[in-house]
């Protein structure tokens, strides 16, 4: 039985006609464009908020002055400079990248080129699992397992040796309490290693089989195949992956805040405490009562934003520029 065409029915029908016509598509497109613009806005608002809230600090100490000054004194002088944290962040992340790069590449080569199938998937799963472990848990492990171990087996022996045989070294060794730049750097290296490994392995797995076979056909040994056919082909992925890991290291917060010792001066000693930009924000933000203190922490946040942005864009640039396929994913 056909329903009768009442007035509301009619409007429903015309509405349906419009919604199922071009109007519906236009509405849909505009809705998802609006939703997407919110994501873009998030990043832009983040930059503006951090800059806006940090502006009083920049005005008070000057943009360059805030960048260069190494005095961070929220207590008596109410004077702030971000240099200790910028140096701390760059030193820990660059060194951790340097010490983790070769091992990460080794694991990637081992899994893609040497390991039998079962071992490959075992290690792959394991590395992925480690990459997913939250930063606080690594920090917890650091506090209760790694720091005491380092103190007993590395710091104290070196320190005692230095006291007896090379007292002039003591000044650059620093306090062997276990918490400090070296500990944080090693932990950071362990934390970013899985990312570098996963991304490098991913890039190496994309190398076409023909590429390898061609090298074997020329009589290359396994290592020569890796060196001449696999790594050059995957270099964009490997480099971009390590840049992304570098970005992770810069932004890594909790584990570093728990292990670096948190000292607001330039880190002159090897074992001694230091600070990074994320760690100082986490440690002091809740306790910042002075407006200038709060503003200075926001200003540190803004600088962290700029550094992360630069590293991320650099990674994207490397991926495009140095890829054999010229940016198109193979």
């Amino acid at each position: 039985m056909q329903p009768k065409d009442t007035a509301p029915m009619k409007t429903m029908k015309t509405l349906k006609k419009y919604v199922y016509g071009s109007l519906g598509d236009t509405l849909f497109l505009w809705t998802i464009v609006a939703l997407s613009i919110t994501i873009i806005a998030c990043t832009i608002v983040m930059a503006f908020t951090l800059y806006g809230d940090g502006a009083p600090a920049f005005r008070e100490f000057g943009f360059l002055g805030f960048l260069k000054s190494n005095i961070w004194d929220p207590g008596s002088r109410i004077q702030f400079g971000a240099a200790p944290f910028i140096v701390g962040t760059l030193v820990t992340s660059i060194v951790s990248l340097l010490i983790s790069f070769i091992p990460a590449l080794s694991i990637a080569i081992f899994t893609t080129e040497y390991a039998p199938r079962w071992l490959q998937s075992l290690i792959d799963n394991f590395v992925n699992l480690i990459a997913a472990i939250p930063s606080v848990i690594i920090g917890l492990w650091g506090i209760f397992v790694f720091v005491p171990w380092m103190r007993e087996n590395v710091y104290m022996p070196v320190y005692m040796w230095s006291v007896e045989s090379a007292p002039q070294l003591l000044a650059i060794l620093g306090n062997p309490i276990g918490y400090g730049m070296t500990t944080a750097t090693i932990i950071l290296a362990l934390m970013i290693l899985p990312y570098t490994t996963v991304l490098a392995a991913h890039a190496m797995m994309k190398v076409p089989k023909e590429q390898r076979e061609a090298a074997y056909a020329l009589g290359a040994t396994k290592w020569e195949v890796i060196r001449m056919a696999v790594i050059p082909y995957a270099r964009a992925g490997i480099l971009a992956g390590s840049m992304l890991s570098f970005g992770r290291a810069i932004g890594e917060t909790m584990a570093v805040a728990m292990l670096i010792g948190n000292k607001n001066t330039l880190p002159f000693t090897i074992f001694g405490a230091g600070s990074t930009m994320p760690s100082v924000i986490v440690n002091e933000f809740r306790e910042a009562v002075e407006n200038m203190h709060l503003s200075s922490l926001m200003a540190v946040g803004f600088q962290l934003f700029i550094i992360s942005l630069a590293v991320n864009l650099l990674a994207a640039y490397i991926q495009n520029k140095f890829s054999v396929t010229g940016g198109q994913s193979a």
Partner: protein, 286 residues
């Protein structure tokens, strides 16, 4: 040309180097898991899931304490974040995959990746400025917003790749029977990519579940269960990663043990999310 002998020698040396390196690195990584499991398992008792933490004296007197408010809080914060970020993430993913020629796409992709690469602590600062400051206090909503910023880019990119996996011919079939484009996307493409979408959601969930930094100055933490259910959203809320941090740096031995237990529960939660995500991903490929 070097002799074959020496080339083989190099190849063996490199292989040895790689194997030794792999073992040397995998051992400490394995130790992290091992220690969390062995130290945590003893402290996971029934009380851990039923009692609240309370003041440190409770734990020092040996009374049963637990993290029930923390576990509930973690789920409240994460689901709030998921609900907030889901429409935006899905919308952006749809734009990227369904309208590949849209002029906004290149910029959107860059901004999404930028947001993804931003340290989580900055997302916390943003949520602090946008929610905590105007509302005048720490709240579960602020924590949810902070975690939503963590989830957003992951959801957007995973939605994009899930929808991209659906062949164009299926869309064309929908269009051919006269459906408008929006209907094709919502009724044909979305259901077809369901497992991919679920995988993306779970991965975003797992990532956010482990974040402590943005919560320290948004949801702040709380040793007790809130008095009323509104307290979960408008009052300070505890969550596993953030509680883990304060337990680990506390001076009490009993709290340290609870910290290991919290670590174990958190790892299991994250691992479960990934395992389920992987299950869905496998279902998609088979």
């Amino acid at each position: 040309m070097k002799s074959l002998q020496s080339r083989y020698r190099v190849q063996r040396a490199v292989k040895l180097f790689i194997v030794v390196n792999t073992v040397c690195v995998l051992v400490p990584l394995f130790l992290i898991l091992y220690h969390v499991f062995t130290n945590g398992i003893g402290a996971v008792t029934m009380a851990f899931f039923t009692e609240e933490l309370g003041s440190p004296t409770r734990a020092m007197r040996g009374e049963p304490t637990g993290l029930v408010h923390t576990i509930i809080g973690t789920f409240v914060l994460d689901f709030t974040a998921l609900i907030i970020s889901l429409p935006f993430g899905l919308g952006a993913g749809m734009l990227l995959s369904e309208y590949p020629d849209h002029p906004l796409n290149a910029f959107l992709r860059i901004m999404t990746d930028t947001l993804n690469g931003m340290p989580a602590v900055l997302k916390g600062l943003l949520a602090w400025a946008l929610v905590v400051k105007p509302m005048g206090g720490f709240s579960g909503i602020a924590g949810g917003v902070a975690l939503a910023f963590v989830m957003l880019p992951i959801l957007a990119r995973s939605t994009e790749s899930a929808l991209m996996n659906i062949p164009w011919s299926i869309r064309e079939a929908g269009l051919a029977i006269g459906l408008p484009r929006w209907r094709v996307v919502l009724s044909v493409v979305m259901p077809a990519s369901k497992s991919g979408l679920v995988t993306g959601g779970l991965i975003a969930f797992a990532r956010a579940a482990g974040e402590a930094a943005p919560l320290l100055f948004t949801s702040f933490g709380n040793n007790y269960l809130p008095n009323r259910w509104t307290g979960w959203f408008f009052g300070p809320v505890d969550s596993l990663p953030q509680r883990l941090y304060s337990l680990a740096i506390s001076p009490y031995k009993a709290w340290h043990e609870m910290g290991w237990a919290a670590g174990l529960v958190l790892i299991v939660l994250v691992m479960l999310s990934f395992a389920v995500a992987k299950f869905f991903a496998r279902e998609r490929t088979s």
